[in-house]
């Protein structure tokens, strides 16, 4: 089990990574702004003085438009990077679980696309306010989404759902795993056992993180359908 000092070190190390990442993303934004204005000026000058029958006119116009689109695409990516970096600022914040899941799914989208898996969300109709470690939450939810993506066949749909169940808040990830529900349940139970506290498998580390967050993992096998991994979190997670 991690000592308080080890836990504090971990928090500081992650905070350092987040701070530097946020700073770098800010620098990238500045260079994007320069590119944006420079290509915008190229477009302005082309439209102002260039005769439209100049052979290169339409090709240059297309190219400036294409650069502007890529600038905007980059700006969106950097926004996500910055949000991710700021998740490492503090180990306890007030957050909305719906927003955390939304952010996690955006981060996981490229992984899903590469595996040709459709990633969908079904978010609770009202905000799910809780207090906890935003980075750890992202990590653990991402971990189970990634597992579901990697276990699913092409064109399968992985759904991430949020819900409230009594005093607990739930994130349910559909799992098309080749490992059946009983086996996942056994793995999870083993991961939560005292012997497995120092386990190094991905699932063991995720289970340990869930435990540190005061949460639990359950698995349901759908009748004739995919299995569901249900992550339950308390409204106020333990702090170090």
């Amino acid at each position: 089990m991690q000592t308080k000092v080890e836990e504090l070190s971990r928090v500081k190390e992650i905070g350092f990574m987040g701070k530097v990442t946020a700073s770098l993303s800010h620098e990238i934004k500045n260079t994007l702004a320069i590119i944006n204005e420079s290509v915008g000026l190229m477009g302005d000058l082309l439209r102002q003085d260039t005769p439209e029958n100049w052979p290169q006119y339409s090709r240059l116009t297309e190219l400036t438009a294409s650069i502007e689109e890529q600038v905007q695409r980059n700006a969106d990516i950097i926004k996500r990077l910055n949000q991710f970096a700021h998740s490492m600022d503090k180990s306890v914040v007030d957050l909305d679980l719906n927003e955390t899941v939304r952010q996690t799914v955006v981060l996981a989208q490229r992984f899903a696309t590469l595996r040709r898996v459709n990633l969908e969300t079904q978010l609770h109709s009202t905000p799910l306010h809780l207090q906890g470690d935003p980075f750890r939450l992202l990590y653990v939810i991402f971990g189970f989404i990634e597992r579901a993506i990697n276990c699913s066949p092409r064109e399968a749909e992985v759904t991430v759902k949020t819900a409230r169940s009594g005093e607990m808040f739930q994130v349910t990830v559909t799992d098309h795993g080749t490992v059946g529900a009983d086996d996942i349940e056994a793995l999870v139970a083993a991961s939560f056992s005292a012997e497995a506290e120092h386990g190094e498998s991905d699932l063991a580390v995720l289970a340990q993180t869930m435990k540190a967050l005061g949460g639990t993992i359950a698995v349901e096998e759908g009748a004739g359908g995919p299995s569901k991994v249900i992550l339950s979190f308390p409204a106020s997670m333990p702090t170090i």
């Binding site: 800010h26 934004k29 702004a33 204005e37 000026l41 600038v71």
Partner: protein
Amino acid sequence: MAEYRVLLVDDEEEFVSALSERLMLRGIEVDSALNGEEALARMEEKEFEVVILDVMMPGLSGLEVLRQIKSTHPNTQVILLTGHGATREGMEGMRLGAFDYLIKPVDIEEMLEKMKEAAKTAHTD
């Protein structure tokens, strides 16, 4: 004659140069400064209806420049340039009296619209 005068303040020289030229092509009278001290000195020499002000600059920060502008030139409207929306700096800037903020990279049409609105308010003070 331009409807209003704009001071553009950002430490990135190429950004200032390209954006200034784009605004001038659209008939806007633009002056520029590469840091907070230079910006405040320019404002002593000339009246500006609108200041476009980068939040994160070395030396005198954008927020400190904003504070000083609102103290010495209360009729001038300030539009902040920020890398990310709803940041601590952006929100603090609005609290200090900024007219609005824009997120880099900026959309020039959006910037023109906000400047026009800001200039209207500056004239009526």
